[in-house]
Assembly symmetry: C2
Homo-oligomer: 222 residues x 2
């Protein structure tokens, strides 16, 4: 059975390789886990013997299918717990990450399957990220960055790219959440911000940084 630290390493490597298309290097892992590069090298040497990933000195690391399996299981657990925290316990989406980070390490197959059932087999977590099913398959969905919508187009929010607390709190303040409908009223060329109408009511100006980090599903145009 893997230790908590081992699980953290595997998940970090998965997340990094997902973005970087390929291998995860020492520094990136160290940064992700807030530890030193030396610790990472040390751990990679020991962990690679357990065959979760391939490691070659100076070349970084990539997961084996055993490692990918573990990472996906952890992501499944993390996201299911987030759904529980938001939907059942009424936490807001900016409060759940740290708690789910702990809960994902609870060891019990039965627990996670019963939790999944209790929550109604959700396909997406409170940030709109897909939850892999028990076989490790993700349900993908077409989505666009709000930034790319044209004037007059409408969409409903299906997710966010950044999970940063400050960003999520800002969205709370704007009353933007999953399911919120947003219509693009104007593109401001000067700074690539946009004027939008939120849920057919409030107007707001969103910076390009914000609009790029919101994913929407475009509404069928009439």
């Amino acid at each position: 059975m893997a230790t908590r630290t081992e699980e953290d390493y595997i998940k970090a490597i998965f997340k990094i390789t997902e973005k970087n298309q390929g291998s995860a290097n020492t520094n990136a892992i160290a940064k992700h886990l807030s530890t030193s590069a030396a610790s990472v090298t040390d751990m990679l040497k020991r962990l690679s013997e357990k065959e979760y990933f391939h490691y070659e000195k100076y070349k970084g690391v990539y997961l084996t299918s055993k490692g990918i399996d573990m990472a996906i299981k952890l992501i499944r657990k993390h996201r299911l717990w987030e759904v529980f925290l938001v939907n059942k316990l009424n936490f807001s989406w900016d409060e759940v990450h740290d708690i789910a980070e702990q809960l994902e390490h609870i060891q019990s197959e039965a627990l996670i399957e019963k939790l999944d059932h209790y929550l109604g087999h959700p396909k997406y977590d409170p940030h709109g990220d897909p939850i892999p099913n028990a076989e490790g398959k993700f349900t993908l969905r077409s989505q666009d960055s709000l930034f790319n919508l044209c004037i007059g187009e409408k969409g409903s929010v299906v997710g966010v790219r950044e999970h940063d607390n400050a960003f999520l709190k800002y969205l709370n303040k704007l009353e933007i959440n999953l399911g919120t409908r947003i219509e693009v009223k104007e593109h401001i060329e000067f700074d690539h911000s946009m004027q939008v109408i939120i849920d057919d009511q409030n107007e707001a100006i969103l910076s390009n940084k914000v609009s790029k980090n919101i994913f929407v599903k475009k509404s069928q145009l009439l």
Copy 2:
């Protein structure tokens, strides 16, 4: 912040002193935590510096109010999670201990208060053990060992003394659970077993070991 191991030690000491009326000795702690006496001595020396308990060589250990506070918080968390597992996720009472043993170490005040609220501020866990409230107060209740009931007396099950899995599974088989009504029909002098009627339907013979481990609230006699 205390480590998981520290928390386990504090809880073990609390449980042992609760039974033994006084102090917990090295061997008892070692047995409770499935570790060696040498490890315990070692840990007691280091932990006593953090003032969770008083330690005197060869004299055993007793908790300070700081230690008692921590133990009660852990018990609160453990028992609330057990309620969640049984009432919401449909685990049976013999399946929840090991999972709750992990969940009790999750660090988040907000989580446990929201969980408590979600569960409706339960006063007892699935084994009938009292759940301390946020201030650490237990709700006590009058109860008798089923063993002590006289012929003709009736009671409803409010708890169990042993939490042993084999015992709980046996009760499942007999269809005895919290709330089950039991009437004493006969005392068998030979081996101190008793003949009972369960929920006004099935008859059964319970050994003295079983009846001693079941707590009931006596019904008002007509």
